[in-house]
Every structure is written in structure tokens, then in C-alpha cells.
Symmetry: C6
Subunit: 247 residues, 6 copies
Amino acid sequence: TVGQFELVYNAFSFAIAVMGAATIFFFLGRSQVAAPYKTAITVTGLVTLIAAYHYVRIFSSWEASYTVLAGQVTATGVKFNDAYRYVDWLLTVPLLLIELILVMRLPQAETVAKGTKLGLLAVLMVVLGYPGEISGLSGTRWLWWSLAMIPFLLIVFDLFVGLKKSIASQPQSVRGLVSAARWLTVVSWCFYPVVFVFPMIGFTGSAATTAVQIGYTVADIVAKAVFGVLVYMIAVRKSGADVDTAV
Amino acid sequence: TVGQFELVYNAFSFAIAVMGAATIFFFLGRSQVAAPYKTAITVTGLVTLIAAYHYVRIFSSWEASYTVLAGQVTATGVKFNDAYRYVDWLLTVPLLLIELILVMRLPQAETVAKGTKLGLLAVLMVVLGYPGEISGLSGTRWLWWSLAMIPFLLIVFDLFVGLKKSIASQPQSVRGLVSAARWLTVVSWCFYPVVFVFPMIGFTGSAATTAVQIGYTVADIVAKAVFGVLVYMIAVRKSGADVDTAV
Amino acid sequence: TVGQFELVYNAFSFAIAVMGAATIFFFLGRSQVAAPYKTAITVTGLVTLIAAYHYVRIFSSWEASYTVLAGQVTATGVKFNDAYRYVDWLLTVPLLLIELILVMRLPQAETVAKGTKLGLLAVLMVVLGYPGEISGLSGTRWLWWSLAMIPFLLIVFDLFVGLKKSIASQPQSVRGLVSAARWLTVVSWCFYPVVFVFPMIGFTGSAATTAVQIGYTVADIVAKAVFGVLVYMIAVRKSGADVDTAV
Amino acid sequence: TVGQFELVYNAFSFAIAVMGAATIFFFLGRSQVAAPYKTAITVTGLVTLIAAYHYVRIFSSWEASYTVLAGQVTATGVKFNDAYRYVDWLLTVPLLLIELILVMRLPQAETVAKGTKLGLLAVLMVVLGYPGEISGLSGTRWLWWSLAMIPFLLIVFDLFVGLKKSIASQPQSVRGLVSAARWLTVVSWCFYPVVFVFPMIGFTGSAATTAVQIGYTVADIVAKAVFGVLVYMIAVRKSGADVDTAV
Amino acid sequence: TVGQFELVYNAFSFAIAVMGAATIFFFLGRSQVAAPYKTAITVTGLVTLIAAYHYVRIFSSWEASYTVLAGQVTATGVKFNDAYRYVDWLLTVPLLLIELILVMRLPQAETVAKGTKLGLLAVLMVVLGYPGEISGLSGTRWLWWSLAMIPFLLIVFDLFVGLKKSIASQPQSVRGLVSAARWLTVVSWCFYPVVFVFPMIGFTGSAATTAVQIGYTVADIVAKAVFGVLVYMIAVRKSGADVDTAV
Amino acid sequence: TVGQFELVYNAFSFAIAVMGAATIFFFLGRSQVAAPYKTAITVTGLVTLIAAYHYVRIFSSWEASYTVLAGQVTATGVKFNDAYRYVDWLLTVPLLLIELILVMRLPQAETVAKGTKLGLLAVLMVVLGYPGEISGLSGTRWLWWSLAMIPFLLIVFDLFVGLKKSIASQPQSVRGLVSAARWLTVVSWCFYPVVFVFPMIGFTGSAATTAVQIGYTVADIVAKAVFGVLVYMIAVRKSGADVDTAV
Ligand SMILES: CC1=C(/C=C/C(C)=C/C=C/C(C)=C/C=O)C(C)(C)CCC1
Ligand SMILES: CC1=C(/C=C/C(C)=C/C=C/C(C)=C/C=O)C(C)(C)CCC1
Ligand SMILES: CC1=C(/C=C/C(C)=C/C=C/C(C)=C/C=O)C(C)(C)CCC1
Ligand SMILES: CC1=C(/C=C/C(C)=C/C=C/C(C)=C/C=O)C(C)(C)CCC1
Ligand SMILES: CC1=C(/C=C/C(C)=C/C=C/C(C)=C/C=O)C(C)(C)CCC1
Ligand SMILES: CC1=C(/C=C/C(C)=C/C=C/C(C)=C/C=O)C(C)(C)CCC1
């Protein structure tokens, strides 16, 4: 219905505003962290910039797929590029993991090893989800969902357990924030496979489309922008109060 | 009528100019405050930037919804996206609260706790107002208005009482300004639920539309740009006279 | 006639160039004044930037309202947005007053008080002029002109008398410039209510339109760009010769 | 003919490139002169920026006025905005004089007095030339030409005699350059009234148009960009070899 | 099919995002390496910027060549500019080699000699591949493939053997990274001649087009962006921990 | 043919990428040379920027002049602006000579004298070549070619002999580079008069057009971007290893 079309339309526009503002916030905030954390904040800003670019494209695809005329929504025949999010995740999901690892400031070898492992698992997860996303058949979707869940669970396990050990080595002032970031990642990431199954557990037609788009959009905002603010706060606190910043 | 159409048209354009100029003012002014206040001014500039972006979209929607031909205003059939402001408020209203808390420079734990609480209440308030905004039925609008008033009153109460305590801990030079900011927030925010009820208390047709749009626009300018100037002045005074600034 | 159309067309384009160049000049010049005057120059640059934006819109409206074909000017039926200047003045006129007050560097309390008083009077003046501007009736125009003259005269009086006292407390090197700025403000501002009455004292048709547009444009250039250069020169001289500037 | 159309087309495009490149050169070079000369280089860059903007508009007007089809040039009926240069000169000619005075670094009072006098004469000269430019009648053109020659000769005289005195007070290292700038101004400026009379001394039709446009374009490039490079060289030499520059 | 069209469409868009984000990352990261490595990072950023520009063009060509209508892909008759990648490689492949040589910081004479030799071989390789790329005949494609393989093998040999010697002279901390970069170059570059032969070893029609475009895109991302990150990490480590960075 | 059209199309696009990337490289590299060489690098960047602007225009003209439809190239009737390169050379050729002279850092009087002489000869050379370029008649082309060869030979002679003397006064570390730049200039510049005669020594129709456009494009890239890199390397080496650079 028109209400659903407008809700998704406004949600996408909201996501553009959030990701755009977050990008500016992180790029301006980069100068207020110490040198070891600048790369982490650069990556944080790139995640939201890439997301803003992709939401502009998703928004345009949405506008092109439907026409609203005198209170009636009709499909134009142009297919909504539903898989476009995977293009976004393929780049941003590995970067999100790298962002978290960088701000933890683990030993160099561990940073490289963990970053490589989690990054490759993330790419695998997104690639394994793509064939299911573009399919309409329930069986196909369940198959690829199951396969993508494997790297997904490996990542979540590593985040949950592996990072818990690392928290102990963090300064007292950021342990709460790192713990919050860890929880936020786990919880927000669990949204995605849940949203993916909406069309297979009873949601149909425009209700399914609306629920999927709103669900993914909310999850993206939390997993990227809100998570980024936590990473930024961690970096600022670890930089200490005597960073001499120039603008 | 044409006069009403042009009044709203000019009001939206005025809002774009105000928000755009305010954004530049705050981003340039950021270098003239001390390090602890830079984040507050960054958020202040982002609020007006997001608002400028949203007013450009609101302005375009207004242009697309009506045609003025030889002194006659006619609707084009394209619906004016009246709910677009909620997309704006969903992001800017929490940021406004964070902006005020940051410039107060409360203890770190209190900053995080109060920011989280007020931010979530603000999101709840806007989300609870949205279904009423897109409804034409008086009963539905009153229902959601009442529900949104709950978090609204909680926020206002906290601002009015909670911040009054904090004022005592502020430097003498800014107490007047913080008090003014507190009052300005309370008064300007009360505009919004009042404007919301205009169509339910006798305003009809184009008069209602005009009153609502002008009312919200004036309130936005006061609550964002004027409030931002107060926050900036607080930050400058708290930074002291010996900030060594570079451009 | 075509000559009149082109004269106004060229005048608007000239105003865009002047305001655009002035904006760049002030933003570049900001780094060559001492810290206490940076905000004044920021405001000066914003005034001309806002004016450039508004002249671009006025220029577009003028192009849309008339067609020139083989030496003949015909109206298109699209109304020239004559009231657009009020949108500009509503923001720039208060800023101009703030600009002058800031560069005087009065005591802090006096700066805030005078800025608030004059700013509100300026808003009132422009708002009271708007209903007359959009009216074609002589009586209506005279009525609102008279009402707007009240805050106008209060502002001019305060500028003329109030600022004369302040000049004595300025350094010797800038007294001439401040006096010139004071005179320039008074004289250039008097243009506006005079131009406003052109259609009520004998100017008719295209001659009235041409005279009004050229008159307001010349006044805007003097009151904004020329006045801004005076403010900038005051700021540079008050900054002294040993400002260490970085680019 | 097509050859003439293309010659003017290419000349305008060349002017855009020259003025654009000169603008970048002067804005980048601004950081390599001492503080007292920065304003002079800012004005130099603004002159060429304003000229680039105006040449873009002149170029567009030229494209809109003629169509080239299969080796044949035909007028479209849209009038070439021949008077557009006056809009440019009204701003750039006073700025050029100010540019030369600033880089001479005369005593402050003399700078202001000479700048005001020459600036006003320049505005008068351009304004007095405008009615003749938009006229097709030889008599009218001669009349306004004669009137404009009066301020023109006063300016040239002052440049030639007044500045000759000032050269003696300049450092030895720049006397040659200042003399060259003085000569270049006088010679290049004399082009303008000569080009103005082309249609009154035998040039007709497209030959007159071509000669006028090429003539004014060459003169603009010499009087703005080449002159600006001389002013820049004067500023660099007067800044001395130990300017500590930052990029 | 539509699936294949969308896969390539999304792959190109992904490449734009990767190259764009990488460019920003490298230009921001340039300030965090020591002076001797800044040029290497500048070149790294230029490689991904040039690639982003070229992917925008490739993406547009792809959109112009096919129409998707109601689940059916049809060619528009506009030829997909398949050779456009060669324009990209002609510039980026030599730059990639220079990038690696610069970050190794070899003796100056060796840097110039090796850079010139490998750069010219790279240009030769791409030029020799171009006639085959634009040909549809298998024999022609094999001929030029064979010719291009000659400079290709010379480059790979030099990278593999020549750089192995240089690794020993690198600091301990980067030997692993330099080795990884060497391997990544060799492996990723081998993709290209393999992808080139896809249409000659059994891939046909849209399957061939899809495989070629996805293959080249993945190889470009690895050879440019991933390789660039390795070069950046080498530069950061060789810069040491006490680089005093300014933003 | 289509192949020829696409070859030229891709060559122009390649030139845009090269000139654009070179511009960024030089503007970023400007901060890594000592103060006396900054102007030389500024000019180097302006040369490639002007060239990029002109190649965008040449590229557009090429697209407008031909249509490719189902493997067939047809002229649209819009004339390819073949003389557009002269507009480019008129500005960039003098700047290239100034660039070389500046980086040599000759005595001030010699810099000005040689720069003026060679610059004027360059302008004369390009102006004398223009009438031949726009002519289709062999005799006319030979005439102007011969006339343009006179300043051409004077420039080449001065570069070859005059600069050889200057090389002896350069630091040992750059003698090889300055010699290479001298040779590269002479060799690359000789391309131009050779390419000019292609249509008069047997090349006809589309083969002539293709050869001329590819020839001029390759020569421009070598004479501007490759030459610029040599100038940059000379400036870096002459700046020495202890330039304290800020980004
Ligand atoms: C497990 C699983 C999935 C997981 C997706 C995830 C976890 C996405 C995370 C995205 C983020 C964090 C984006 C931006 O920040 C898919 C692909 C939906 C497919 C079905 C199974
Ligand atoms: C209580 C209430 C509302 C309150 C809205 C408010 C308080 C909005 C504030 C917006 C600001 C401050 C924007 C920009 O600065 C709604 C949503 C109208 C719905 C009806 C009830
Ligand atoms: C008294 C009066 C007026 C005064 C306008 C003024 C004084 C405008 C000043 C504008 C400036 C200074 C703009 C830009 O700098 C109106 C509104 C025409 C209405 C009629 C009466
Ligand atoms: C005397 C005279 C004229 C003089 C014009 C001049 C002197 C223009 C200078 C322009 C410059 C210097 C532009 C940019 O740098 C006119 C107006 C043609 C009208 C006829 C008489
Ligand atoms: C040997 C060979 C080729 C090699 C291409 C290569 C090695 C390309 C590398 C491109 C890179 C590295 C791009 C961006 O980073 C061609 C031309 C396909 C033609 C067939 C034979
Ligand atoms: C002698 C000669 C010519 C020389 C042209 C040259 C030498 C051009 C150089 C251009 C450069 C260096 C461009 C950009 O860097 C022309 C005009 C073709 C005309 C025929 C005779």
C-alpha cells in the first residue's frame, strides 16, 4: 500500500541521512584520536560512506520500481534490486570486523591474523547468502541460508569468545564500551539471518517486502553508525585526555 | 491560495538558507572552541546539515505537489510527503539532546547514561507520533499524540529539572546561557505537539496545511539553529579566552 | 522592453558575481584577523553567501517569468517571485547588525543585549514589510510600510546614536572606518523603504519593476558587500600588525 | 562564417582556461607571499575567478545565438548578450586598480584615498559605456564613448603620472616590474575604447562581431591574467627570500 | 539471463565502491607515513582513483548495452565497450609496478632503471593484448595473447626473482608483507591472461561475457585495492612508530 | 570504421585519465619540494589540468561528430572541432617552457628574459599553425606549416643549445634528469609538425583522422605528463633530503 511504500521510502532516506552524517562525524573526529587509532576511525568513516552510497542506489531502485498515483501503488515493471545490499555487505562487513580489531589495538601479528580470518569468513558468508537472496524458492533460500550460517556462527563465536579474552587486556576506562560493542555486534548481526527468513515463515507480498527492507535498514543503522560511535568513543578514551589536536 | 503556497514555499527556502548558513557557521566555529567541546559543535553542525538536507527534500516535495498557474493553485495529484519531518526528527532530536549534554561537560558516566536515556525517549517519541501524522482521522491522531506525549513529557521534565541541578556546577560565565538554552528547548519543543493538533482543533484545508508547515518550520529554526548558536556561545565561553586557534 | 529585461538580468548576474566574490574574499580573509574578530568575519561571509544563494534563485525566477523572442519581451504566466528578497533580508539583516556589533568588540553583556534587541527589531521590520510587498493595492502597501517604518526608525536611531557613543571607545585607527560603516548603513538602508514606495508614487508597469529591482540590487550590494569590506578593514586594523597568519 | 564562429568559440573557451588556471595559480601562490601582500593576491585571484564565471556565461550565450549546420552558420533568434562584459568590468576593473594599489603598499591613507577615487572613476567609466554598447546607432555610441573617455583618461593619467612617483619609493628589485605593470595597464586598457569603435569605423556584420569579440578577449587576458602574474611577481619579490611558507 | 546481467551490474558497482573507498583510505593514510613513502602512497591512491573512474565508465557502458524488461534481457544494439579495461590497465599497470618499487625504497638508480624497464614492458603487454581483445576470431586472439605473454612473463620473472633479492635488504618487520605483496601480484596477475582465454576454451555467449567480466573485476580488486593495502602497511611499518603526523 | 572510432574514443578517455591523475599527483607533490620549486610544480599541475579540461571537450566533440549504430560509423553532420588542440597548446606550450625554466632555477633576470622570449615564440608558433589546421587545402597547410616551423626551430635550438650550457651549473644529482627532460622535449615536440603533415603525405579519410588524433594524443601525454614527472623529480632532488613537509 501507499503507507508501506512511503514507510520504506522514508526509511531509506533516513538511512542516507544517518550514514552521511555519521561519515562526516567520523572524518571530523579522526583528528581527535591518537595516531594509533586514526586508521580505525578512517575505516569507520569509510563503512558509513560506502553505506550512504549504497543507500542512495537502493533508494533510486525503490523509486524506479513503483509508482504512486492518486493513493495507489503500482509496480512499474522495473525490478527492485533487492540484492544490492549484498554488494554493500561484501565490503562493509569485513571492514566492520577490521574496525573493531584495529581499535582494540591487539598485538600486530594477532591483528593481521584475526583480521584476515574474520574478513574471509565474512566474505564467504555474504557470498553464500547471495544466491538465496535472488531466489524466490523457499527450498533454495533455506539451503543457502544454512550454508551462510556456518561462517556466520564462526564469526559470532570468535567475536563472542575471542574478544572476551581481549577485553581483559584493555584499559579499565573502555572495558564497558568494548563489551557493549561486542554485544551490539552480536545482537545486531543476528537480525540479518532472521530478516532473511521473513518470506519463508509467513510474511507475504508487500508485507514481506516492507518487513525485510525496514528490518535490514534498522539493522544496518545499528551495526554501522551506532557501532561506529562506540568504536569512536573507545578510540577517544584510549587516546587519553592529553591528545593535542589540530583542526 | 497562491499567497499561502508562496508563503510556505518561501518559508522552506528560508529554512534551507538558515540551516545551510548555520552549518557553515558551526563547522568554521569548531576550531575556536577547546578540545573538550569540539564534539559538541560537530554534532551541532550535523543537526543543521541534516535539517538542510531534509528541507531540500521537503521543498522539492512541496513543489511537486502543487502547480501555480495564472494566479491559481492546483494539486498535481502527487502527495506532499508530510511525514518527511519525522525522518528528520528521528535523527536530529536525539542529536539535539546529545548536543546539550556534551556542552555541559558532565561527568563521563552521567553523560553516557543521560544521553542514552534521553536519546531513546526521543526516538520513541518520534516513532509514536509518526502513525498519527500520516493519518487523517482525528481519533487516530489524538491517540498517537497522547502516546507520544508520554516520552515528550519525560524528556521535558528531565531537561527542566535534571539540567537545573547541573547548571549550578557550570562556570558563572555560562549559567545565563545554559538557562536560556534550557528554556528555549522547553518552549520551542512545546510548539511541536501544539502544531500537530492544528488540524484537530478547527484548522481545515489549506489554512491547516499552511499553519502546520509554517509552525513546524519556525519551531525547527528556533530549536536547531538558534539553539545551536546558544550551545556554541556556551562552548566558546567555557573554552576561555586563551584558546590558541588555527584556521 | 528588452532593454529593461536585460538590464535587470545583468544586474542580478552582477549581484551573483559580487556576492560570490565577496564570500570568497571574507572566508579567505578570516585567517588574517585576530581570534576575537573571526566570528565577525564568519558572519560577514555568511551574509554574502546567503545573498548569493538568494540572487541565484531571484535570477532563475526572473528568467522563468519572461521570454525574449525576436526583440520582444512577453510574460510567461509564471509569476516573478518578488517577495523572495524578504526571505533573504529576514536572515541577512539581523546578521548584518550582529556583524557590526561583533567587530566593535563591545563588552560581552552589551554585545548580547544590543544584538538581541536589534536582531528582533530587524526581523519584525522585515515581517511587517512582507504583506505589503505581496500586495498590489496602494493602501495596503502604505499601511504595512508605515508599520515597518517603526522598527526601521528604531534601528536607525540606535545605530546612529548608540553606535556614536561606542565609536569613542574604539582605537584611533578605526574610528574613521567605523564612522563610515555607520553612515553607510544608515544611508544604504534608507534606500529600501524608498524603493518600496516606487510603485505608489508614479512608477508603473515595467518601469516600476525595473526601478525596484535595480534599486534593491544596488542597495543590497552596498549594504552587504561594501559594508562587509569596511567591517573587514576594521577587523584587520584592530587585529594589529603582528597577527601571525597561517594559510 | 563558420570559421569566424569557431574562432570566437575557441577564443572564449581559451579565455575560460586562462582565467581558470590563473585563478588556481593565484590562490595557490597566495601562501608564498608575506602577510601584507596576501590581500592583493586574493583580489588578483578574485578578478580572474569573476572573469572565468563571466566567460562561461558569454560562451553559453554565444552557443545559444548561432547554429552551425553542415558548414553554415545561422542565427537562432536568441540575442547574443553583448553587454555581458560590462557586468564583468563593473566589478573587475575597480578590483584591478585596487590590486595594483595594494601591492604597491602605499601609506594606509593614500591607499584608501587612491583606491576610492580610482574605483569610483572606473565604475563611472563602465556605466557610461553601457548605453552605447547596447545601442546600434553610431551617434549614440560616439556620445557615450566620449563621455566614458573622460573617467578613462583621468584613470590613465593618474596611473601614468601618480604611480610613476610611487615607483621611486619601491624596492629596487621590483621597480622594473612595477613599471612594466604600469605600462601594461595603460596599453591594454587602451584596447578597450578602440575595440568599442570598431563598428563605427568600417567593420560591419560578422567581421565586426568577430573583431570586437576577439579584441575584447585578448585585452581581457592581458589586462587580467598577464597583469596578475606581474602583480604576483612583485608581491613575491617584495616578500623577500625568507618567507616561511606552509602549504 | 537477468541473473547474469545483474551479477555483472552488481560486480561493477561493487568495484566502484571498493576503488572509491580505497582511494579515500590511501589519500587519508598518506599523512601517516614518513616523507620517503608519501609518493608511493600517492601513486597507490591514484591507481584506485583511475580504476574508480574507469569502472564508472564500464558500468555506464554495460547499462547502455542491455535492457531488462519483465524478466528478459535484450541487447540494445549499443556495443559494450569491452576494451575499456585496456585503457585502464595501460595507466594503472605501470603505476602498480612503480608503487611496489617506490615502497621498497631501493637505491635511486635502481629505482629509476627498474621502474622504467618494468613500466615499458607493462605498456607493451597491454598494447599487445588490445588487438586480441577487440577481435572475435579465436586465431587472432591466440596470436596476440601469445605476443602479450612475452612481456608478461618477463615482468613476472623480474618480480619473482628480482624482488626476492631485494626482500633481504628490507627491515625484518616488513619482509613477510613484501613477500605477500610479491606473491599476490604474481598470482593476481596470472588471472588476466587466463580470463582472456575464456572465450577460446569453451565459454560461449552470455556465460563467457559474465565469466570474463566477473573474472577481470575480481582480479582488478585484488591487484589494485588489496595490493594497495599491503603496500600501505609496508609503508607504515617502514615509517616506524614515531612518525609525527598531522591531519 | 568502428575500430578506428573506438581507438580514438579510448585514446581520448585515456588522455583524460592520465592528465587528471597527473594533476592530482603534482598538486599533492607540491608540498614535497622546497619553496623555490613550488611555483614550478604549480605550473606543472596547471598544464595537465588545462589539458584534462581540453581533452574532456575534445572527447565530447568526437562523440557528437559520429554515431555508431550496429557496427557502422556515420558522421552526424556536427563538425569535429579539430582545431581545439590549438586552444590547448596556446596556453600549455608557453607554460611548459616556463615550467622547465623555473625548475632550472636560473638567475632571476635570465629566467624572466628566457621565459618571455620562449613564451612569445611559442604563442607565435601555435598561432601560425592554426590557419593551416583549419584548412583542407594542401598548399595552405604547407604554407602555414613552414611559417610555424620558424619559431619552432628557434625554440628547439634554444632548448637544445641554451639549456645545455645551463646543465653544467645544475647539481650533479639532476644533470641526468635535466638532460633527459631536454631530450624528451625536443623529441616529443618534433612529433607535432610531423603529425600535422600526415594528411599531406598520403594519409586520407578516416585513416588520416585516426593517425592525427592518436599521434597528437600520444605526443601530448609524453610532452605534458611524462615531462612533468621529470620536472617533479628534478625539483625533489634539488630540494634535498631534509625538506620538512607538511600535508
Ligand atoms: C547468516 C546469514 C546472513 C547474514 C548476514 C549478516 C550477518 C549480515 C551483516 C551485515 C552487516 C553487519 C552490515 C552492515 O554493517 C545472510 C547473508 C543474510 C544470508 C542468510 C544467512
Ligand atoms: C509530543 C508530540 C510530538 C513531539 C514532537 C517534538 C517534541 C518534536 C521536536 C522536534 C525537534 C526539536 C526538531 C528539530 O530540532 C509529535 C511528534 C509532534 C507528535 C505528537 C506529540
Ligand atoms: C522600512 C521598510 C522596509 C525596510 C527594509 C530594509 C531596511 C531592508 C534592509 C535590507 C538589507 C540591509 C539587506 C541586505 O543587506 C521594507 C521591508 C522595504 C518595507 C517597507 C518599510
Ligand atoms: C573608455 C571607454 C571604455 C573603456 C573600457 C575599459 C578601459 C575597460 C577595461 C576593462 C578591463 C581592464 C577589463 C578586465 O580586466 C568603454 C567601456 C569600452 C566604452 C567606451 C569608452
Ligand atoms: C598476458 C596477457 C594479458 C595480461 C594482462 C595483465 C597481466 C593485466 C594486468 C592488469 C592489472 C594488474 C590491472 C590492475 O591492477 C592480457 C592483456 C589480458 C592479454 C592476453 C595476455
Ligand atoms: C611546428 C609546427 C607545429 C608545432 C607544434 C608544436 C611543437 C606543438 C607542441 C605542443 C605541445 C608541447 C603540447 C603540450 O604539451 C604545428 C602547430 C603543429 C603546426 C605546424 C608546424
